[in-house]
């Protein structure tokens, strides 16, 4: 974790309310892991007062960090008005990233489920997953067709125009499927419907689902992952102040299990505790989160 001054290289509208911020930072590009975030002071003044937590979208060489963000409030609105050459104060990288695992898996071992702006940080993940999944086990000859071993990415959006990151995922060699709520592109419906279909058919020996998107979608994905007994990691968002675990302002309810005796039988008793999205997350296992 560092506090850095960065100079904006680019800050442009991608489409609708979505903007792309680019800046050079050797420290961040070298140390950041997928799923981690930065806390940006978007103005020099008192308004808005707090830093804004934003996920890292991708790292492009040499040392260029990209953040893809949606204008949703005062902070992101102010950020969208900053110009190239201006300097921002950044703290990062923050939080724990995704657990990428270590094994080299078989076909389609990783499924990325993205909803709306949630696609942004999953691109960084895909950047790091690609070599992992594509590499055959040591000492063996890779006979797999070239499409196997690639992460499968399911991108959901309300409409064709709100769709994000399709090209980025494809350029990284991912197998990409599109779902729009209005059917203006790809499958019509919810991305979670497609996830169920996928789990029912071609990818039955899945390793892990990685997902980021609106809370309702995350909840549905978590439910599906439980039903199909597939490990699932969720990247969560929450209002934050400090971003480092000091203020205790971004709690999420998680299950805690401890052994106890019921009569003569030892059972696992489930209770809950608060964990902080900034420090304990922002990635959580789907089976530990309690949805309110």
């Amino acid at each position: 974790m560092n506090q850095l001054k960065i100079k904006i290289s680019e800050n442009i509208r991608v489409s609708g309310n979505y903007f792309r911020l680019k800046f050079r930072s050797e420290q961040l590009s070298k140390t950041a892991r997928p799923g981690q975030f930065i806390e940006l002071k978007v103005t020099d003044g008192l308004e808005p007062l707090l830093r804004k937590p934003l996920g890292i979208h991708r790292i492009i060489s040499p040392n260029m960090v990209e953040v893809l963000y949606e204008v949703i409030g005062k902070g992101t609105e102010a950020l969208s008005k900053r110009s190239p050459g201006e300097v921002l104060d950044v703290i990062g990288p923050l939080g724990n990233g995704f657990d990428l695992g270590s094994r080299v898996e078989g076909p389609g071992s990783r499924v990325l489920v993205a909803g709306g702006i949630g696609a942004a940080p999953l691109v960084f993940l895909a950047q790091k997953l690609r070599p992992l999944s594509a590499k055959p086990p040591e000492g063996t000859i890779d006979h797999r067709p070239s499409t196997l071993g690639r992460p499968l990415v399911l991108i959901g959006a309300k409409t064709k125009d709100a769709l994000l990151c399709e090209k980025e995922f494809k350029d990284l060699g991912c197998n990409v499927s599109i779902v729009t709520e209005d059917g203006s592109k790809g499958h019509k419906g919810f991305v979670t419907d497609l996830l169920k279909k996928v789990l029912n058919t071609q990818y039955s020996i899945l390793n892990t689902i990685y997902t980021c998107g609106p809370k309702s979608m995350l909840k549905a994905v978590a439910h599906i992952s439980t039903k199909y007994r597939t490990p699932c990691q969720l990247l969560l968002e929450e209002y934050m102040a400090c971003g480092v675990g000091v203020c205790l302002g971004c709690p999420i309810k998680v299950k805690t299990q401890y052994p106890c005796l019921a009569g003569r039988q030892a059972i696992l008793n489930t209770q809950y505790q608060y964990k902080m999205v900034c420090k304990d997350g922002p990635v959580f296992r789907a089976d530990e989160v309690i949805w309110e």
């Binding site: 007062l49 830093r51 302002g249």
Partner: protein
């Protein structure tokens, strides 16, 4: 140049203290904690508290509301884990304690008396654990709480006061009469914010406490009032973002100051304030900070 000040028996190498609940060893990677005057640890209670339901934070114009609800792992965890981590960083630590009864406060003070903390701040004013009125909204209860704690410990005792009162002087006086070595003021203001589309409160706890730049002028006036009422040192708190803010408090009578919300915005702010105070003293050709405390010219 001498920036040191004394609060009770604590000698601070400079008057800049990190406020309770806004600072932690987590910041060690970003700021030279050793250079601070002191750190007030997050408030602890005898037993662990899970805190309030989310959302716990709302941003307001130039400020913020919080309703953390004193989430903490309890006294024993503080003694076993949090305190040693601070002491490793070679910074004077002031514990912050809260309880619903004077008996519990005494127990906390008694146990902390045997530790390496430099002092104890009584958080009599957290707005987020409601069971009727706050201790620091009742002069008799304030007096009694301080008196009991003083009996239980030899450590420097600081009473942290609430601004949610009609006349702060009454409460500063009550703390002084109870035997407090110092008072710190102010804690946050009771406050709330509403989502008008859903007609729901924006905080899970419905109400919370307002902090940051919006409360600074009010805090300053309260420090000035208290300074004119009591003889014990005053620690000024409320929306301090820069050395200029800090100097205003010191000139109005604060012996030391605490920085809270500003840590979230700039973790290095405390160190920058210390540098700023030193530069101010050089510019004004003043060699001892003590000369500036309460130096407000009113005629």
């Amino acid at each position: 140049m001498n920036t040191s000040v004394k609060v009770g028996r604590i000698r601070l190498k400079n008057p800049v203290i990190a406020a309770s609940g806004t600072f932690g060893v987590e910041y060690n990677e970003l700021v030279d904690i050793e250079s601070l005057g002191a750190v007030v640890a997050k408030t602890i209670t005898l037993n662990a508290r899970e805190g309030n339901p989310p959302p716990r934070l709302v941003e307001t114009p130039a400020g913020m509301l919080n309703s953390i609800g004193l989430e903490n792992a309890g006294l024993q965890d503080f003694i076993n884990k949090k305190l040693p981590a601070y002491l490793k960083l070679k910074v004077p630590v002031i514990a912050s304690i809260s309880a619903e009864t004077a008996g519990e406060l005494m127990e906390l003070a008694k146990r902390l008396d045997k530790t390496a903390v430099e002092g104890i701040e009584l958080n009599l004013s957290c707005p987020n654990i409601r069971s009727g009125t706050l201790i620091s909204q009742d002069p008799k209860a304030t007096y009694e709480a301080v008196r009991q704690v003083k009996k239980a410990t030899e450590k420097t005792v600081i009473a942290k006061l609430s601004p949610n009162v009609t006349d702060i002087r009454v409460f500063a006086k009550a703390a002084e009469e109870g035997g407090a070595d110092a008072v710190s003021l102010i804690n946050t203001f009771f406050a709330m914010a509403v989502d008008i589309e859903k007609r729901r409160p924006l905080l899970g706890n419905i109400t919370g406490g307002l902090s940051g730049p919006p409360i600074k002028p009010i805090a300053l006036k309260m420090v000035w009032d208290a300074f004119n009422e009591v003889d014990i040192p005053i620690i000024g708190i409320g929306g301090i973002m820069t050395y200029k803010d800090a100097m205003e408090f010191i000139i109005c009578g604060a012996t030391a100051i605490q920085v809270g919300t500003a840590n979230f915005i700039n973790p290095q702010v405390t160190v920058e304030i210390i540098d700023g105070i030193r530069q101010y003293m050089t510019r004004k050709n003043i060699n001892s900070l003590k000369k500036l405390i309460g130096s407000l010219e009113v005629r």
